[in-house]
């Protein structure tokens, strides 16, 4: 189901990096660039200096030469874009840019013409990245013209042709995945490989993910991203099935405090939700079905809304039986948890809606409930006590 998949993705992409940022180390870098001597304009550098710190910097390009300085915690993938100062990027105009790892030390960017064709040398992160690029070169050479052709077909609304091209593209992508996973498996000391591996780890980290993480060298595990991943493992363990669900207090529609532990003795479907998400309709219909299925049972839905006040009051009306409506508005950010409740459950904007089933003894029975799945009610029925 096309759209359902999208919705599910929104559940898993943003498992929050819930805990507060530890004090990170800083590494100074200098970028020295030399393009063709007749190039004048400016370069714009964009990167994250730390997990949630975005940096944008720029420098003048005079006779092809430019220089930039800055600080990063760990190596981060950066993009350097060239602008000839003749207005911003226009639709359809391919921008001239280069991606590379920005990290402590000196980074050299050299090209006989534009930035897109530049060779970038720097630290270990960049060297590892270039190694991967080399591994994938043959495939990339096959992929690029096909992808360009496909994009053109889509622009021309020729969906059949685009679909036919997909038949050629899919095996290339499958091959790329193979090469990547072999590279990841063989590179326990590579931070660049680690960053690629993290992308495959979504939602709660299960045993396999913990094993995967422990393969990495201490140096990799002690990076900022490594520490954040370790926190995700801790959160996944804390919220494991069989553990007592962390207690929290939120406010109901009248402003009275509601505590999770006050519902002890009942099965609780704990639902962190927001109505302003794609696929909300099927979510809402499914929740009504669940509430109807359990209306005469020892079962309550504890809804914790992250909607703005007026919106969640409106959305509340759409719900039926045995709901306890509460709000923790403002408790989540785009990528991070803000409130105590959100921190305890590792919530962020990308991680809601998210559901847990908690037994009468307060222990977690199910997590990551498939909230839009038509069979959710049946699955809950099997698990409730």
């Amino acid at each position: 189901m096309i759209l359902k998949t999208l919705f599910k993705c929104s559940l898993c992409v943003g498992m929050a990096t819930a805990l507060s940022a530890p004090a990170f180390s800083q590494h100074k870098f200098t970028i020295n660039g030399q393009l063709a001597k007749d190039i004048q304009g400016k370069v714009i550098l964009q990167y994250n200096s730390h997990p949630n710190t975005y940096v944008r910097d720029s420098a003048i390009v005079r006779n092809g030469a430019f220089s930039l300085q800055g600080e990063v915690g760990d190596p981060y993938f950066a993009s350097l874009q060239f602008s000839d100062n003749k207005g911003g990027p226009k639709m359809g105009r391919v921008s001239d840019y280069k991606g590379f790892f920005v990290e402590g030390g000196t980074i050299k960017i050299v090209s006989a013409d534009s930035i897109g064709n530049a060779a970038v040398t720097g630290g270990k992160g960049q060297a590892d990245y270039l190694h991967r690029v080399a591994l994938l070169k043959t495939l990339n050479d096959q992929y690029r013209p096909l992808a360009e052709q496909q994009a053109k077909m889509r622009m021309e609304r020729n969906m059949e042709a685009a679909e036919a091209l997909q038949k050629q593209i899919a095996p290339i992508l499958a091959q790329q995945e193979k090469i990547d996973s072999a590279w990841i498996a063989a590179s326990p000391d590579s931070y660049a490989a680690f960053l690629l591996w993290i992308k495959t780890q979504r939602g709660f980290i299960e045993d396999e993910g913990i094993k995967g993480f422990n393969r990495y060298s201490a140096a990799v595990r002690n990076t900022e991203q490594g520490k954040l991943f370790a926190e995700r493992i801790q959160l996944s363990k804390k919220l494991a099935i069989g553990n007592v669900a962390p207690d929290f207090t939120v406010k109901d529609s009248l402003g009275n405090p509601v505590t999770l532990s006050s519902l002890k003795g009942k099965n609780v479907m704990l639902l962190f939700w927001i109505s302003n998400v794609f696929g909300f309709d099927s979510f809402a219909v499914n929740m009504r079905k669940v509430s109807k299925r359990f209306k005469d049972k020892n079962f309550v839905i504890l809804g914790v809304s992250y909607d703005e006040d007026s919106r969640w009051r409106e959305a509340m009306k759409a719900t039926t039986y045995n709901w306890v409506h509460t709000t923790d508005v403002g408790g989540i950010g785009n990528k991070e948890a803000i409130s105590k409740t959100a921190k305890a459950y590792g919530l962020s904007l990308g991680a809601v809606p998210q559901g847990f089933l908690i037994g009468p003894d307060g222990k977690i029975l199910m997590r990551r409930l498939a909230l839009t799945d038509a069979e959710l009610g049946l699955e809950l029925e099997k698990a409730v006590k």
């Binding site: 759209l3 309709d281 809402a284 499914n286 069979e375």
Partner: protein, 187 residues
């Protein structure tokens, strides 16, 4: 992109504004619940119209659209099952949804010919009878999606790839449960 985007945009707008009032339509039955026997008002393109579900028949209602590639990909599979079970009180309905150009649907059905030999109906755009009573009421935001009805009850709501001859045989033999069907799919 265009074809996919039309329903996408509609849904996006819905999610932002009117979705909260989705309950103005009665909710679609949950799995195991009785279904309203009357089939919504649709335009029948091919095959015998189904005015109401009959208790002694099994209905496989498959939601599709001409812009939905996975739906079209599932058609040969559905058609083959239809041919094998049409004399065993199993009725396949290919219910076109989420599009508003009937001529496009007609042309598609014509082109498919015998490759699409089960009953086909066109429901019309958003706000149509079927859209209100099934699509919106069941919270369907993505297709393909298949509803299986037996004994005037909704017994399963699933993806067409979860259906095969053995699963349909379970229905015919009166032995269907979702768990039994899933065990067959896993094999």
């Amino acid at each position: 992109m265009k074809r996919l985007c039309m329903p996408l945009m509609a849904l996006l707008l819905l999610a932002m504004s009117t979705s909260l009032s989705a309950q103005q339509f009665a909710d679609f039955p949950d799995i195991g619940d009785d279904i309203i026997p009357e089939y919504p008002n649709v335009e029948w393109i091919k095959g015998t119209p189904v005015k109401a579900f009959e208790k002694d028949k099994i209905y496989i209602v498959e939601l599709w659209a001409t812009w939905c590639k996975p739906c079209i990909a599932a058609m040969p599979h559905l058609n083959a099952m239809h041919l094998r079970f049409k004399d065993k009180n199993v009725v396949f309905i290919g219910q076109d949804v989420m599009e508003s150009d009937r001529s496009k649907v007609d042309a598609f059905v014509k082109e498919m010919g015998d490759g699409l030999s089960y009953t086909i109906a066109y429901s019309g755009p958003e706000g149509s009878d079927f859209d209100k009573k099934w699509v919106k009421a069941a919270g369907v935001t993505g297709i393909p999606q298949t509803f299986i009805i037996q004994n005037n009850k909704l017994v399963w709501q699933t993806h067409p790839s979860n259906l095969n001859d053995e699963v349909i045989q379970l229905l015919v033999d009166g032995k269907f449960t979702i768990d039994a069907a899933k065990a067959l799919i896993k094999k």
